[in-house]
Symmetry: none
Subunit: 397 residues, 2 copies
């Protein structure tokens, strides 16, 4: 049996004091994590740079060992991944917003850039209608998926891959009301084809939904292509899988070529069952836990504490699998008091037979400050995991 | 009211043990700083690089968020700023040293490169004489300001800006005695004009001061132009001012486009009064305190302790202004036992509502090592201040 490395990402893990000077991690009762912290290497990581608050894309790229400043993921691509669209090399991804326009002298004028934030149900109905009626544009297939409220993701699937620069098309969202939507203007000659398709799409969509009371137009933003990334397996020689519930994280894992394990259920219990089931089939297991981030974003520190405690209760089962290397961290901090992602360093724990240990009595922001890893760039974590798995050669003689 | 960020620079803040194993900061009685340290983010910063002792120029550039390795400030420019000369885009700045020469067969031969370190008073008298008699060189105005002992700063003010490379003129100081001064040789074609002006200047000065017993010649070093720096306001979107007593620091702040507040008096008391007076007019306040560095340079640790204690006594007044973000640090360390700048990391404290805190019981070198900031490059501090002011957008979606 080969090496087994588990990377557990508690999304938005890091926090700030919420009650009596204590953070969510400090308030949580985590006997199993505490015990593990005492025999592990601990530290913190900075996903992008000092003071920089990362989105989920850069945060995960860093954890996967890619430089998030070098490899950028477009907004359209991220939206498509988040809404569960499977992205191909031949796709251009775009984020769409339903909007309300009025026609003056036959020209559309934006009166609400978000169509009054229509209910998600209404979005679903309208999106389905478009999906049925839109048809092909020349030889380009159109995929469309409803998001929350007024948001959708679109894919233009071309018959073959487009050249570098073909996604450089300007947003049609004018960013203010009382004016006409902008044209999807190509910024490079390579982008002319995509711009033409986008313009035709906008026209067709406007016809299909012209009688909707609110969502009678669509604005486009964030034209982007799937980024070209060396695969995780090529880069690190590890056969990797992703065990995640939310489409965004499955999408990010698939961008670097991890196999996304399909399974029923949405609970951590379900995820651990899957982990056990596929244990023999991979070298590297990326387990994504969303609840910490959602609770932080909602400013609900008590729920964040509960998610951490729930994770703690399942930790022994994960340890029982006997991974060679186990890492526990987050893709960024989401302090409940900020109700958003933040720039704060993220607690990190690495367990292997080759650690000092004995530096931190718990797995918290402040205890991790005392640890042997220090505060490191997120993109260096993969180096450490490979090292602890004894998979890296000596550098120089 | 917009955001309010205060950056307090205690020049040469960091120290080394001077008595019973304690540093100046550890010996100082600082109840207010101690209290603040306990509720702040702490750490240390390295202004330039590990092991590198920074001058005041690089130290401050880093604190202002500029890469000190990328943006170099010439010796002539620094001398001019330090002596209070106002530098224009059309200026070439040079450092001058009075020297003693003997004429052999009508040719000057250097016998003392520093003119016996003449008293500053003598320098002032001679410099004033030159200033009166030197006149214009072609269309070039000459400004000259006396420094300490044998040092002066010179500006050649051209009618219009000179091209890139125009300041590449070799020093005329031969770096040893018994030989002729060197010619100001241009190293690029663009520098020929400046070299001609410099040669003419040396000749005229030699005539004006030929009868002085010691300072009868002038050697030139460090030809340089004002560096082209993106302004602080463009870079960070903050309207910034400088509240400093010494010309050098006002000059450094003006290089990045900060407004230098003019005021009467030289004490910290005066500086804090000014801070209060201009509080509504700016977003960012750079407060420079010189005493810590001067005491360190003199090897007078007791005086350094006193300056720190004096600052501590004024801290509550600064806190009462209610800044959104307050940073306290130094531009480098100046340990009294070294009597000079040093390479040691500099204590750093950041207070905002978004810190962990609780890591350091005092604001000292050793306590800051326990803090949540870690040891970071000086040039990253501005990122953190902007983040804590919630002025940075998320990176990636």
């Amino acid at each position: 049996m080969g090496v087994k490395i588990i990377l557990i990402v508690l999304d938005g893990l890091g926090g700030l004091p919420v009650k009596e000077g204590k953070t969510e991690l400090e308030i949580a009762k985590t006997p199993n994590l505490d015990r593990l912290a005492r025999i592990s290497a601990t530290g913190l990581h900075i996903p992008v740079d000092h003071g920089i608050t990362p989105g989920s894309g850069p945060g995960h790229l860093a954890l996967f060992g890619y430089d998030p400043l070098k490899h950028k993921i477009g907004r359209g691509v991220l939206e498509a991944l988040g809404l569960g669209l499977e992205l191909k090399e031949t796709d251009i991804a775009v984020r769409g917003n339903y909007a309300t326009v009025e026609y003056r002298n036959g020209r559309p004028v934006v009166v609400d850039r978000r169509a009054g934030r229509i209910p998600t149900e209404e979005n679903r109905r309208i999106t389905e209608k478009i999906s049925k009626e839109i048809g092909k544009i020349d030889d380009v297939e159109v995929k469309i998926a409803p998001g929350m409220e007024h948001r959708v993701a679109l894919l233009f699937r071309f018959p073959e891959p487009l050249p570098e620069g073909s996604d450089k098309v300007k947003d049609t969202d004018p960013q203010r009301t009382g004016v006409e939507p902008l044209d999807p203007v190509p910024e490079t000659p390579e982008a002319e084809k995509v711009a033409r398709v986008a313009k035709e799409l906008v026209g067709r969509v406007a016809k299909i939904i012209k009688d909707e009371p609110r969502a009678n137009y669509m604005l486009l933003r964030g034209f982007s292509k799937k980024p070209e990334l060396e695969s995780f397996e090529e880069k690190f020689g590890l056969k990797a899988c992703c065990i995640a519930v939310y489409p965004m994280y499955k999408g990010l894992a698939s961008l670097v070529g991890m196999e996304v394990v399909r399974f029923e259920g949405k609970s951590l219990r379900d995820q651990i069952n899957v982990l056990k089931k596929v244990w023999e089939s991979y070298d590297f297991f990326f387990l994504h836990i969303k609840g910490t981030d959602s609770a932080g974003e909602d400013g609900d520190w008590e729920r964040k504490v509960k998610v951490i405690e729930e994770f703690d209760s399942h930790l022994p089962e994960i340890l029982d699998l006997g991974p060679d290397v186990l890492a526990i961290t987050g893709d960024h901090s989401t302090p409940s008091i900020l109700k958003s992602h933040s720039w704060h360093p993220v607690p990190l724990l690495i367990r292997s037979p080759y650690v000092l240990g004995g530096t931190s009595s718990r797995f918290t922001e402040r205890e991790c400050l005392k640890g042997e890893i220090g505060i490191i760039p997120g993109k260096k974590i993969m180096n450490l995991l490979l090292a602890h798995a004894l998979k890296l050669d000596k550098f120089g003689a």
